[in-house]
């Protein structure tokens, strides 16, 4: 059994506390700001004691924002819904397309397979602005501009390569012999994929899906360029609180708290899969 001295334990505790404070401070400060008015936030010097208010959350949920220039209509909840819808559907489509593709790339070596896989990966590296203008032109011709379907399609640039490459690595780690044994038992290729490969790759798929969701959620520029105001995600919507008549620090903090909640909850829930899935998928046996 390993023994640690009292001093070592104290030093370790202090070091851990400092690290936690360092990383958590911005989030805790934003959380506190979300319960304050602009006036209390901008006090000099800043103070930890304040009278909490729910006014910022009320403004976001009711869609009415009070500013120096009067009442403004805001569409934050609509932005939040757009983010949820775009991220969930994009990841779902990517999983449907990417997981079978990853399996094919992992198990079935065919002519041009590596070229196709790298082409898909290259989507991830293409600067968004480089592809957006040509895409806008095509989308206008195809009638996809300013549609959710068009956006979900474009979001595949973010989600599909990520899922495909992470899950491919994971499939490659599963010994092929298990699948051969099942096939010898008279089962079809699809049954092998469904009953053997998919359950074994579960944590990897979950991790890839979660990462893709976070990347999709954080995306900013695709919807900004390709869609109208009513289809903007929360990343664009949160900027509405920076107005020429002043920055609404309270509301922007409340918006951040609301917008990070879904990803934070999902990440906390799936943390185990995330670490396990990524570490297993990353190391080739």
């Amino acid at each position: 059994m390993e023994h640690t001295s009292l001093l070592e334990r104290i030093l370790r505790g202090v070091a851990l506390t400092l690290v936690v404070i360092f990383f958590m401070f911005p989030i805790v400060w934003i959380f506190m700001m979300s319960f304050q008015t602009n006036e209390t936030i901008l006090r000099i010097p800043p103070q930890l004691i304040f009278e909490p208010t729910l006014a910022n959350y009320t403004a976001l949920i009711t869609g009415k924002l009070m500013t120096a220039a009067g009442t403004l209509d805001i569409a934050f909840m609509r932005n939040l819904w757009n983010s949820v819808f775009l991220s969930v559907t994009s990841v779902a489509v990517s999983l449907l397309l990417g997981v079978p593709a990853a399996y094919a790339f992992a198990r079935h070596k065919f002519r041009g397979s590596e070229d196709i896989a790298f082409t898909l990966l290259s989507f991830k590296f293409a600067p968004a602005l480089l592809v957006l203008l040509p895409l806008t032109l095509y989308f206008q011709k195809l009638g996809l501009a300013n549609t959710y379907i068009g956006l979900i399609w474009v979001y595949q640039l973010i989600c599909l390569p990520l899922i495909l490459w992470i899950v491919r690595g994971y499939f490659e780690d599963i010994p092929a012999d298990i699948e051969y044994a099942y096939r010898i038992g008279g089962h079809s290729w699809f049954a092998t994929f469904r009953k053997i490969a998919l359950p074994l790759a579960g944590p990897g798929i979950a991790a890839a899906g979660l990462l893709a969701f976070i990347f999709a959620w954080n995306n900013f520029v695709f919807a900004l360029v390709l869609a109208s105001a009513d289809k903007q995600p929360v990343t664009v919507g949160a900027l509405a609180f920076i107005t020429s008549s002043g920055i609404q620090y309270g509301q922007i903090s409340a918006a951040i708290v609301l917008s990070i909640t879904p990803t934070l909850a999902l990440a906390l829930y799936a943390q185990r899969y995330l670490v396990e899935g990524l570490s297993l998928g990353a190391v080739k046996g």
Binding site: L137, V221, T243, G246
Partner: protein, 481 residues
């Protein structure tokens, strides 16, 4: 509507009864202020409709791209009147200011027909115009069949109107005979002083009347107000937006220019003259002594927030920024005052550089005539007066609105010194930059040089010589110098 009320409102619109007479008369008829406002809007709609076929595009729909701004809010609040007047439908997309111009550029560069008209700044049209993205509006303004007789194009403040017109030739004078009207001014900002009167009184500082006095006043305020308050807020980020407000307004007051234009139309840097160097030294000294600690990150938002929160004693920036900070839930709401600023003791008056929120027509609009119907209404005198008196549409661009006693009374009541400031500086207010397509690149480099000077990384003289050399190189490379 009852005949008596209708007659009284029509008399007001004909100019036979003044605003006070109208309010008094309607009050005597038992109408509340809100009802009177509604009736007035209806009356204005009828008056507009009387002389022009506003229904020519009935049933059509146009789409606007708007920035989230009080000007857009004022227009949206009045939009029902336009719909009733024309029978047209108007839909709009509102985007936050932080990403607004990215959206505009993306839509225009993709030749998107989605938006018919959009908000823009006059500076942006120096790029949009030559690129063929926006339409020269002279075709509509000068056509009596398409523009209503009450539009009164001459009613626009001349300096503001001309600042939106450029012939497209690099270095071409704004508002020249051959200029194209790339956009219609909607609302604008002059750069002047907004100050905290209590802090000035506490430090025993008078409103500065020139650059020397401003440097001294800012230093004394920093020293004597206490509580960490600094003397003067000006912008400092590495952006063109650092150059165009107070900095260029004061610079131009000393007859200094950004670029020289030779007889053959070639451009060259003009910011390394002796006069420019002297001004830069004063400006840099003022920021070093009395500016915010992290000045190099300061944009519109930080300058305004500090003034509103009582962290700075004055700003030399957009007058409407001070206007906004004097309202809402700002700590200093109701405690700010305004003054025009003439940096050069030898100058006759202030010469503020201006930012103009304008309306431009997309060249990719599918129905330009219908779009012009909206644009002439939105920039017309009736909507201007509505925005100025009922909403926060400051500063209006029409002289008739500034003459309106109701509007002046509104400002005098809550914004001390605003009207006097405006009257003193508006005649000299215009864009002081040289119109040319490298505007954003060159002014951003100018701001970067200013940052180095304030950080004492380079002496002012040397910094300006290097800047001029770099700018001349870029102008030559682009075939402009």
């Amino acid at each position: 509507m009852h005949e008596k009320e209708k007659d009284l409102i029509d008399a007001f619109l004909r100019g036979q009864v003044d605003r006070r007479g109208l309010i008094k008369g309607l009050g005597a008829m038992g109408l509340a202020a809100g009802t009177a406002g509604t009736l007035l809007n209806l009356g204005q709609t009828r008056a507009l409709a009387a002389d022009f076929d506003w229904q020519a595009h009935k049933g059509k729909t146009i789409k606007l791209l708007l920035n989230k701004h009080p000007y857009a809010d004022a227009m949206i609040a009045d939009l029902e009147n336009f719909k009733k007047l024309t029978g047209m439908n108007v839909v709009y997309d509102v985007f936050p200011e932080d990403v607004y111009f990215d959206k505009v550029t993306a839509a225009l560069s993709a030749s998107s027909p989605e938006y018919d008209a959009f908000m823009t700044g006059a500076y942006m049209t120096w790029t949009y115009g030559p690129a063929g993205w926006v339409t020269d509006l002279n075709e509509w303004i000068k056509d009596p069949a398409k523009t209503n007789p009450n539009y009164a194009w001459d009613d626009f403040l001349p300096g503001v109107k001309n600042s939106c017109a450029w012939n497209g030739k690099p270095g071409g004078a704004l508002g020249s005979e051959d200029a194209k009207q790339w956009c219609i001014p909607w609302g604008f900002e002059q750069n002047n002083i907004t100050y905290n009167k209590a802090m000035f009184d506490k430090a025993g500082v008078a409103i500065p009347g020139n650059m020397d006095e401003m440097v001294a006043a800012a230093a004394k305020l920093t020293k004597d107000v206490g509580g960490g308050v600094y003397g003067i807020g000006v912008r400092g980020s590495r952006s063109w937006a650092t150059i165009h407000p107070g900095f260029l307004s004061a610079y131009a007051n000393f007859d200094q220019k950004d670029l020289n234009v030779s007889a053959d139309g070639k451009l060259s840097a003009a910011m390394n003259t002796a006069g420019s160097k002297a001004f830069h030294k004063q400006w840099v000294q003022m920021i070093q002594e009395s500016g915010p600690k992290d000045w190099s990150t300061y944009t519109w938002y930080q300058v305004g927030t500090d003034l509103g929160a009582g962290a700075s004693a004055m700003i030399f920036d957009a007058d409407i920024l001070g206007y906004f900070m004097n309202g809402g839930d700002n700590k200093m709401a109701g405690k700010l005052a305004f003054a025009n600023f003439k940096a050069n003791p030898a100058a006759k008056a202030a010469t503020p550089n201006i930012w103009i929120w304008s309306l431009a027509m997309s060249n990719f609009s599918k129905d330009k005539d219908a779009t012009w119907y909206f644009m002439q209404w939105a920039s017309g005198p009736e909507h201007g007066l509505f925005g100025a008196t009922k909403m926060d549409f400051v500063n209006p661009v029409r002289q008739s609105v500034w003459k309106d006693q109701g509007f002046r009374d509104k400002l005098n009541k809550s914004y001390p010194g605003y009207v006097e400031m405006f009257d003193a500086s508006a005649p000299g207010a215009s864009i002081k930059f040289t119109a040319q397509p490298l505007f954003f690149d060159l002014t951003t480099e100018w701001a970067a040089t200013l940052q180095k000077m304030v950080a004492k990384e380079v002496p002012v003289d040397e910094g300006l010589d290097k800047l001029a050399e770099s700018i001349n190189g870029q102008l030559k490379e682009a075939g402009l110098g």
